[in-house]
Amino acid sequence: MAGAEAPQIREKVVIRLAGDSGDGMQLTGTEFTRSAALAGNDVATFPDFPAEIRAPAGTLAGVSGFQLHFASSAIYTPGDAPDVLVAMNPAAFKKNIGDLKPGGIVLANEDAFTSANLKKVDYAESPLDDDALNERHRVFKVAMEKQVALALDGMGLSTKEIARSKNFWALGVLYWLYNRDTERQVEWIQQKFAKKPQFAEANIKAFKAGYHYGDTTEMFGETYKVEKAKMEPGVYRNIMGNVALVTGLVTASQKAGVPLVLGSYPITPASDILHNLAKYRNYGVVTFQAEDEIAAIAASIGASYGGAIGVCSTSGPGLALKGEALGLAHILEIPMVVVNVQRGGPSTGLPTKTEQSDLLQCMYGRNGDAPVPVIAAKSPADCFYAAIEAVKVAVKYMTPVVLMSDGYIANGAEPWKIPEPDTIPDIPVSFRTEKEGYQVYARDEATLARAWVKPGTPGLEHRVGGLEKDFLTGEVSYDPINHQKMCDIRAEKVARVQQDIPPTYVEGDEDGDILVVGWGGTYGSIHVGVEKARAGGHKVGQVHLRWLNPFPKDLGDVLGRYKKVLVCELNKGQLWRLLRAEYLVDAQSFTKVQGQPFLVQEVQDAIEAALKA
């Protein structure tokens, strides 16, 4: 960087990488995120990819995007509008250019702006040459493929193989633009492609070539730097929601001293839970890829009955198939965790997009009165804690628990301050072995939980099943009063989970003009939206519910402390309905179902509108 000007300091930067599904944008984005996190920035990411593995090249349907937000201050969302757009082809450009900030940078792969590719997305001529565009944004056209070909000249690679390295070339340019340390990236490429040294070499060469290109051509005129964020002291790692969730499940199993059995059927966006848990066989974890969604939950039920922590992971359509079995787990009163990583519905819907439209399904999607505790994680790292809590409640109350995540936090990432293992409390579990006085459905007074007995325990042989059972002996009972009693007790047991839920945590103003209520993965956008509304002079509180069933004991009181209540969620008003029904509160609803998370601006506008309403 000899002769270059000192980098300009920026507090926050949003970059969006967009290209064909095969262009490696997810990898490039993940890698740049890693470098930002390792450099001490706060980060938030939003991978946004199509449902098709490889949609036809160059089409709008095939565009895969990755947005990343990195900053020297605390951030809560991947950012509304990007400062930089990397567009690997005309389709990627067309789909994303509208979001770019005025004055933002476009880095376009000129080689892909051929007349054939332009035609695929209805451009008569290259939009990169448009005057209006060049006035609004800073447009940099680079023949990336030619540059990569030059860098890899003499390696004996085919044109196709050469083209594959262009994402690393783009990554190199970004490294230069944001003054990132290249060494760790080179090491990473070496490790990642250790088995294919030729590709490792090609990618490193391309990466370095990109970096040097930025330097020698001084293409951007200036470079930027985002300083370290002030974070609490500690050891951090950048973690995705699905990985955090798995880490939480394994930790819970260790803390409970009970092995974990996962039954799962691959489904987007939950499959990574299966993939990641499968790595922990040496932690006593058994993963079973079942033949279908029903078998997956049935196997989890069998495992829990056998004395393991049964878990199954799925998404909305899978949960629909699991309904009957979840009812069985409820009436058996055995501990298990059903993970629902929500995606856009109904039906197959939008498999790779995010939504929160399964809340009512999780609450009620079973035959009969079959309530189960429902907990939702609010951010990628929070999936770790939510998973532990779900297991804790499941074994304490002998009940299936639904743990909700969504596509946005499942695939998104954020820095996580790793807790010391010793600071995580043990999860007490006891299996009954005492014969004297054993009754299959006798209950603990405080939790109403029945005893967990492992088959193989002498003298406690008993039968359980889906037929209604006697409130004490567990034998089949068709007695009307007994049925009423059992339905009441099962509901009461789930309601008692309230004992384990801390008082409602209010952020912002403790009372005032409006309370904004949300749940799940929308935490970040709502949080920033609320902060902005407060900065605008309103008295605004934020409550982000972790337990959706049961609600915290004091929630009704909290709702009553504000003149207005606004419920924000990515569905058609599901929590809103629940709150209105439970608390007779005249809450307003702000919703969105576009497969995308809330923008901060949208939340802020909704608060303004609700205040005026």
């Binding site: 996190a37 390792l38 001490g40 370290k228 974070m231 609490e232 002291p233 500690g234 050891v235 951090y236 790692r237 950048n238 973690i239 880490t247 394994v250 930790t251 260790q254 092995p259 059995v261 039954g263 922990y280 066989r281 040496n282 932690y283 058994v286 079973f288 079942a290 033949e291 279908d292 029903i294 078998a295 997956a296 049935a298 196997a299 039920i301 069998g302 495992a303 829990s304 009955y305 056998g306 004395g307 393991a308 079995a325 069985l328 790793i418 807790p419 293992p421 995580i424 088959p455 193989g456 002498p458 003298g459 042989e461 008993h462 039968r463 359980v464 099943g465 889906g466 034998e475 089949v476």
Partner: protein, 343 residues
């Protein structure tokens, strides 16, 4: 650690009976099966706490309630999946799956298919009565074509599933057929099934006295069964009709043919000889397709083959993983990947 202690208290049939009233219709074939199983279990030398019966839905599925062991009456068709999870949690348990033709071959057909190909170490007792009993008499996937029932007043149209061909086609490592009324034969089959490592699939012809009485009369009636049942014995020829008839292979069509040995005594050496362990699996498939009334119906162990059981392999992988990756270490788990320190 094996759960079964070596020095066992001697158990009797009574030890396996629950005080519950058995609620099948009087005369139902299920009673005989229940009595047989209760008679059989003490002979295993397995403590009853290590035995689990898992069922789905249907008349047969009430079975666990009558067994003084661990048991679960689960949901329709899903017993194989429940049993799989149970064995994954505790592979040392002796698990029986009790199911019916609707439960196993209709709503639960998918699970049965995958149970068999995985070869989980369990015993499947398929009570085949070729009818839906609990829902009061609709035709089942095992009912013969043209069956007149409440749901098919004009006769059923679908071609029935062949449980033997289905099971063997799915890769069953053990398939046997027996009859509710033939206590001695059933005990013999149960013993063989218990000795087998992997999924033992036993189809039991079971009489539903109310909705499909005498569906298997041709093999249960003393007179008829002589002509219509072929009892299989390892190493013995496929003979029936008191040894007067046998089954040979037509080598041009590769299909079984009935040979009347009284008329053609010279063909005695053409009669197929039963081999339970037939490596090719061809004999099992031939037998599976021999059906009433064209052929005598084979009764007994069609085939068993050795293949590692799913649960045994899971344990093995666990051992290897532990050796390779080391004991659980939360610190390692949490602090993995790219970590950095903020001071």
């Amino acid at each position: 650690m094996p759960l079964d202690p070596p020095d066992l208290v001697k158990l009797t049939r009574k030890d396996f009976q629950t005080p519950n009233d058995v609620r099948w219709c009087p005369g139902c074939g299920d009673y005989a099966i229940l009595a047989n199983i209760q008679k059989f279990l003490p002979s295993l030398g397995v403590p009853k706490e290590n035995i689990v019966f898992i069922s789905g839905i249907g008349c047969a599925a009430r079975f666990p309630y009558y067994m003084e062991t661990y048991g679960m009456h689960s949901i329709h068709g899903r017993a194989p999946a429940v049993a799989t999870g149970l064995k994954l949690a505790n592979p040392d348990l002796h698990v029986f799956i009790v199911t019916g033709d609707g439960d196993a071959l209709s709503i639960g057909g998918n699970h049965m298919l995958h149970l068999l190909r995985r070869n989980l170490d369990v015993t499947v007792l398929l009570f085949n009565n070729r009818i839906y009993g609990l829902t009061k008499g609709q035709y089942s996937p095992a009912s013969e074509q043209g069956k007149i029932t409440k749901s098919t007043p004009l006769g059923s149209l679908d071609y029935p599933v062949n449980p033997a061909a289905f099971a063997l086609g799915a890769g069953a490592s053990f398939y046997a057929r027996t009859i509710d009324r033939d206590a001695k034969h059933m005990l013999d089959v149960l013993e063989k099934a218990h000795a087998h490592k992997g999924t033992s699939f036993i189809e039991i012809y079971q009489n539903c006295v109310v909705f499909n009485d005498n569906a298997f009369e041709y093999v249960t009636d003393k007179k008829q069964k002589v002509e219509h049942a072929l009892y299989l014995e390892h190493g013995k020829p496929w003979l029936f009709a008191d040894g007067k008839k046998g089954i040979a292979l037509d080598k041009t069509t590769m299909s079984p043919v009935i040979v009347d040995l009284e008329k053609e005594p010279a063909r005695a050496e053409d009669i197929m000889v039963h081999d339970e362990n037939d490596a090719s699996g061809v004999l099992g498939h031939l037998l599976a397709h021999m059906d009433h009334p064209q052929f005598p119906v084979p009764i007994g162990l069609f085939r068993q083959s050795e293949r590692p059981a799913y649960d045994a392999q899971v344990i093995e992988q666990g051992k290897v993983a532990l050796e390779k990756r080391g004991a659980p270490d939360l610190k390692k788990l949490l602090f993995s990947g790219d970590v950095w320190e903020v001071n």
